[in-house]
Amino acid sequence: MSFLFGLLFIVSAMAQVEVKGILIEKGTRKALKDVSIFILPHKVKAVSDEKGNFNFSNVPAGECEVIVNLSGYKKYEKKTKCEALGDLKIYLEKVFYTGFETTVTTKVNKRDDQGQSLTQEEFIKAPGSFGGDPVRAAQNLPGVAANGASAQIIVQGASPEDTSYLINGHRVPIVFHFGGLSSVIVPEAVERVDLLPSGYGPEYSRAIGGIIGLTTKAPKTDRWHGMAYVDLLNTGGLVEGPIDDKSSFLMAGRYSYIGQVLKAVAKNNEDLELTAAPTYYDLTSIYKNKLNEKNEFRTTFVASKDELELVFNKPVGNDPSLRGDFYNRTEFFRFIPQLVTEINSKHRLDNSVAIGRDNILVNITGNYLDVNSFVITQRSELTSQWTPTYKTYVGLDNQWNDSRVGINLPVSTEIGGVRGPFSVGEEKKFTTEANQTLLGAYIRQEIKTSEDSKWTYLPNFRADHFSINQETHLQPRFQLRHQWDSSLLLRGAWGKYVQPPRPQESSAKYGNNDVRSPYAFHTMVGFTKDFKEGSTQGFEVTNNYFYKELKDLVNPDVQKRFVNNGTGTILGGEVQAKYRKDNWSSQVVYTFLKSERHTPGYGTRPSEFDQTHNLNIIGAYNLERWTFSGRLRFVTGNPYTPVMGATFDADNDVYIPTRGSIYSQRFEAFKQLDLRVDRKFIYDTWILTAYLDILNVTNSVNPQSIEYSYDYTQNKKVRGLPILPTIGVKGEF
């Protein structure tokens, strides 16, 4: 009998079993390929395949230990009983899940050295970006500044009106929701945000200031992913994944309940009553289909809506004629199908169309502006690599608007940022339907004299036609690139940029239909020096100098409403120094500029957006599951026009301000410190992130505007954003 037991023991000990399993990253469920998995004490090894699967075919049954030791991950050691297993799941935990980025920039499309872009990985964790908002994070880039707490963006001292906002290359009316708190697309659905401030290529136009573009991402194809978050201001979510082998889908949305918070705050306010809490929401969906080897189809849908309604129970401030209902709604959607065709190894064709509608409604006590536009924009681009030294991009960039505009508004009497009372302006009430066509064609050329030449010449050209004033503009643009060595890139650009007059300026009923298109000449030179020498650690410095000459700027005029009598110059330099060492990364961004405007009768004066010094210091430190980050901002105060007195309008019972020298005074410098702490909790199949984001930690006053008494004899400066802490949690799988 004892012999029998001994034999069974030996047979059992010698039994071979098959162990199958999958190796995935803990939390993200990302398959880890080409990783060695060991089973001790048998010293057998398997290697994971592309999907993370591994297979041990002959493992002695019994007690064993599974070991995985991969650089960047915590060592996995687990004692188990080796038996025939088909579903052994190994979740390998990363050492760091908190790779905090501080605006590490990459080249836009690898083609335009004048621009910078932030990838999702960079902006999603950027301090001061209010939860990873791409456009707010872009405000950390050189030459970019926020316009107070507004939704406007100042690019190199240009008016925000002179900057164009794009989604996937197609123009949209806004990129920020109400108050500039967040962009109109959920950050996780954005692949990158691009900034083209000056000297940019011929692909874009109709913006003499600059371009800010959001590009949506391609839905993931490896498996279905999800994300949901909630914080004090809004909640949102995203799902994405493969539909089949060729297609994938993403849907994301967000809803803000900031209005409910404001409504609660305003509940006992005698002056105003929030009848409908301010709210915003947006929706994004993306569908991608690899039709065949040569064609890829993608369609993106973006919709956004902001709404606010309130009742002023009392006449307001220095315009007592304003009392009653106030309603504001801004909404738009775009449906953007896109087809990319790889014609052959040398030619690629990219076609896209955006179809959508814009609606802006402002109603102030019976005075209203109601804009309804049906919009179609179309882009086509043929990319051709003719020879190793000659490449072209030939494209069309067209836009067609069919707008119905209803206006019952007094003429704006604003000069120098000081607006007369609402009731004084000459009333304009009309409804108009207008078609506007903007046609654009361009060619971009990249020429090298030889394959190994360090010089790249980019003689570019663009033509635009605006039906609004029947003007055609030829715009030569030239860029130059010199790759001094592998770490030093020199660049320069010069070009002409034109934009059509705004609809209110060129409207025969509201403005002056003889208004011409303002234009600008951009000149820039700069370099980027990478001291990291292939490493991920060390310094990188970018330095640019820019000069913009603005012509035919449109100004208000008493006789003709609007005339092209303005000129301007913007001169400046910017430097961005990035440093990364181990768990620490930091960035210093500084812009110096002088932005001036000249108007007959008012002389030469600073622009409203002349911010002499703009300094951002950003730092972040990672500690396994923790990330600590901060941003310090210092910006010269914006100029403003003082009010020297006022004249009583006995008919309208209001005082009309008397302006002093236009933009002759400045607000105090803007100073703000933002801090953020992220803590990640890693579970096998999902990750929970909790965060605390505090804007304006020191509660700096940062005055943004001036409020006046009814007769303008008293005033006080209106403070900017107070300290604003936000806590939130985000779960993702």
Binding site: S150, D319, V362, G425, D653, K716
Partner: protein, 279 residues
């Protein structure tokens, strides 16, 4: 339109007033509260058209002083389009001295006893052919002829103006002043200065309907919207401006001396009437 939208939004949201600012309804130093024209609208090319302006003035803490300044008349430089209120542009502008003696009492100058609130008059001659060269819309809706008063008081320059609308409309088509009823205190004719919690209101004649020509040259029938501006020498009001028959609540202690309540009814196109009560 993006800017316009944004500006309108900010304007409204940021103009809710500061509690430390002087209240618009509180009378203290020299102020002109309104100017009533005997004819707020006149027909162009009527030779010798003269309009009498009644300046509703107040200087409750002035002690009966005399304030002096100048008065100018000219055609509108485009105030509604942002032009500065001035007569510098008009070669035919008139200029002359003007003074207000707050100690005077008389049938044409019914100042409130010791509270120095009442009205004074000034005649304005409207020149002919002001509409020559104007668009048909301007001729129909009218163009403004300005009377600008400028005073130096306590080292400060105070400026105020009144428009008289000159049009090619005639007779009953011309705007006339509204007629204000008596000031009501808690629904009855006022007999005493209000006490805290009591409500002031006022009635008026029926608003007129009139024709307005839009920029599209469409003739639109409209009805005047009356608003009432309230002023008190003591305390504060819940609303400095009300609609007709809407009440405003007084908040303040009982006056220690003479006091005054003023109500000015405007018809939103230059017509005006007023009531002054002083117990």
């Amino acid at each position: 339109m993006k800017t316009l939208n944004f500006i309108l939004l900010l304007t409204v949201l940021l103009s809710c007033g500061d509690d430390n600012f002087r209240k618009v309804e509180k009378l203290s130093g020299f102020r002109v509260l309104g100017i009533k024209a005997s004819s707020p609208e006149v027909t162009d090319s009527l030779v010798g058209t003269s309009v009498t302006l009644s300046l509703i003035v107040s200087d409750v803490n002035g002690g009966g002083r005399t304030v002096s300044g100048i008065v100018e008349t000219c055609f509108d430089p485009g105030v509604g389009y942002g032009a500065e209120v001035s007569c510098d542009h008009d070669p035919n502008a008139t200029t002359g001295p003007y003074s207000i003696n707050f100690s005077g009492i008389g049938p044409d100058q019914p100042y409130s006893l010791n509270r120095y609130t009442g009205f004074v008059t000034y005649p304005v001659d409207i020149p002919e052919n002001l509409l020559t060269g104007r668009s048909s819309r301007d001729q129909f809706n009218g163009v403004a002829y300005l009377t600008i008063f400028t005073f130096n008081v306590d080292g400060e320059t105070l400026k105020f103006f009144k428009r008289i609308i000159v049009t090619n409309r005639t007779g009953a088509e011309l705007n006339s002043n509204p007629t204000a009823g008596n000031i009501q205190l808690n629904g009855s004719d006022i007999l005493a200065f209000p006490q805290s919690g009591q409500e002031l209101s006022i009635g008026s004649s029926v608003p007129q309907t009139y024709t307005y020509r839009t920029v599209e040259n469409i003739d639109e029938t409209r009805t005047e919207e009356f608003q009432v501006a309230w002023y008190v020498s003591e305390g504060e009001l819940s609303l400095s401006k009300t609609y007709i028959d809407e009440a405003t609540e007084y908040d303040g202690s009982a006056p220690t001396g003479d006091s005054v309540v003023v109500a000015i009814v405007r018809d939103d196109r230059g017509g005006l009437d007023f009531k002054i009560f002083s117990p």
